[in-house]
């Protein structure tokens, strides 16, 4: 699914989180929103996911206006910064949540849910943790469960807010590759937020550099490196 962001702006009371920004994300792309703290990355991601609504501007999915579409109807697989796993549910129930929440007619039968959850646990390479609670998992395991939970709803796109933010360097590297593999396997249009430029450059097809609610540059990693469009991008990349 391709996503068009058309002159989206967002203010919270007196603070401007996003000045009008525009961005076209081709179907199946892996896009990084890169920028310093407070630059509006999370706000933009939440607007795509339907958790926040823009003050002005439009969002289009496959060319259709989706600005007012509810969060449920968007079917965006969202991975939260702190993962937001349901703490009172086992890993199995966490991953099955989205399938069980479907309206009766579209809900898969119990055996089918079990089959899908098992397959997702295999996909994230954690086949044996179905019965555990989130508090009994390591940070890296939680992140992967959050990813599996988001994938379970057969999303139309994948949105990840600093998916590797809370992890140590070694685990980050492993999970980076994991995300790349899952992206390549599913072909889902994927947007992830990061303030780590190595992560953005290494992983993404397209990097969007943001600062103070503005998009400074959109480009392939090598282009951003070799031809920084603004002073800010040059400084940020060389930092």
């Amino acid at each position: 699914m391709h996503i068009d962001i058309d002159e989206i702006a967002k203010t919270f009371g007196a603070t401007t989180a996003l000045r009008p920004v525009s961005l076209n994300i081709p179907s199946g792309a892996l896009v990084a929103l890169l920028g310093p703290s407070g630059s509006g990355k999370t706000t933009l991601l939440r607007i795509l996911g339907g958790l926040e609504f823009p003050t002005s501007g439009r969002v289009l999915f496959n060319g259709q206006d989706a600005t007012g579409m509810t969060v449920q109807d968007r079917r965006a697989g969202f991975v939260f910064q702190s993962y937001a796993l349901f703490r009172h549910m086992t890993v199995f129930d966490n991953i099955a949540y989205g399938l069980r929440a479907r309206p009766r007619g579209q809900r898969p039968p119990r055996a089918e849910i079990t089959r899908r959850v098992t397959r997702l646990l295999d996909l994230i390479q954690l086949p044996d943790i179905a019965g555990r609670y989130p508090t009994q998992l390591s940070g890296g395991q939680r992140q992967r469960v959050a990813l599996a939970r988001a994938l379970a709803i057969e999303p139309r796109m994948l949105l990840l807010d600093e998916p590797f933010g809370a992890l140590d360097a070694k685990v980050r590297k492993e999970l980076r590759q994991g995300l790349r593999d899952i992206h390549d396997e599913t072909g889902l249009t994927t947007v992830f937020v990061t303030h780590d430029q190595d992560e953005a450059m290494e992983l993404a097809d397209l990097v969007v550099v943001m600062s103070m609610g503005r998009i400074e540059q959109i480009g392939r990693p090598q282009d951003i490196r070799s031809k920084p469009a603004t002073e800010f991008v040059r400084d940020f990349i060389s930092a």
Binding site: L51, A84, Y97, G98
Partner: protein
């Protein structure tokens, strides 16, 4: 190596007090508890059983006493669920939305704790009494509030309102909105999210608040005394009946009723303790402080 002969220095954790001070502190705490909590409890039960079990039980068996017990249980059965619902709604509203005047609203929730129950009762009389516009209309239509059960229910709800909300607000603030948002992105409706995510996460705080609310609802005196009119056999709750019996020098009857009321409150506390012990691991998992 010769370190085996070295005397072990006596390390003391920084937060440990000197032994003497510790003993003094414990003694003060125990003495305080004994004088302020255990002694009155013991006196209540001793006075009730002064003339033996049969006298005590007989005094609880007469018509007015039975009516008082039924009334108190009825009022509690209405006020506690109502306050649980109000408490959840207001805690949810306060923690899940950003709006102006939030701090003011939180203060407002505490109001029943700071206003004297008698004043609260008087307000209800002024608002709904037969001399007010609303009250006059209600009485004319056969729905008296004051000196009737609805007034007692209102007074009890007002006085015990903060218990549930105050337990829930800190827990819900700490938990934030992320899990609810996650449920919504997974396709769950608002109601489903509330049922399957919000409610399980607050269930312990809700239980605590509800139990405290129950104990207080059964024992409320001041506000109820003003609005009930103290009609024996009709609007006299257990605490009101205790006072009336005591004023009539019927001390066995008064203390028997008091002992029963105390026992009901103790059962509530016992329930809370049992649940805490049985679900200690889950309590730790949901990190309730």
């Amino acid at each position: 190596m010769s370190d085996t002969a070295l005397p072990r220095p006596a390390f003391r954790v920084a937060t440990d007090e000197a032994p003497l001070l510790r003993i003094v502190l414990i003694a003060i705490a125990v003495a305080g508890l004994a004088v302020l909590v255990f002694a009155p409890l013991a006196v209540v039960f001793a006075e009730a059983l002064k003339h033996g079990w049969s006298a005590a039980i007989q005094s609880l068996g007469n018509r007015d006493a039975r009516s008082a017990i039924q009334l108190t249980l009825l009022i509690t059965a209405i006020a506690v669920p109502a306050n649980a619902a109000f408490g959840i709604a207001s805690a949810w509203f306060i923690t899940k939305f950003d709006f102006r005047g939030k701090a003011f609203l939180i203060t407002l929730i505490d109001l029943p704790f700071s206003v004297s129950p008698v004043v609260a009762g008087l307000c209800i009389v002024l608002l709904f009494g037969a001399n007010s516009a609303i009250g006059g209309w209600l009485v004319a239509n056969g729905w008296p509030i004051v000196f009737a059960i609805p007034g007692i229910v209102l007074a009890t709800i007002f006085v015990t309102f903060p218990f549930v909300a105050r337990e829930l607000i800190p827990v819900m603030i700490e938990q934030g909105r992320a899990e609810e948002e996650a449920a919504l992105t997974l396709g769950a409706s608002g109601w489903r999210t509330f049922r399957t995510v919000t409610l399980p996460n607050i269930r312990w705080a809700l239980l605590y608040g509800t139990l405290l609310c129950t104990a207080r609802a059964m024992g409320e005196f001041g506000a109820v005394a003003v609005v009930s009119g103290k009609i024996r056999g009709q609007t006299a709750t257990m605490p009101i009946t205790i006072e009336m019996l005591y004023n009539e020098y019927l001390s066995v009857a008064a203390f028997s009723m008091a002992a029963l009321l105390t026992a009901l409150a103790l059962v509530t506390l016992l329930l809370k303790t049992i649940l805490e012990l049985r679900h200690a691991d889950q309590l730790a998992a949901t990190r309730r402080h």
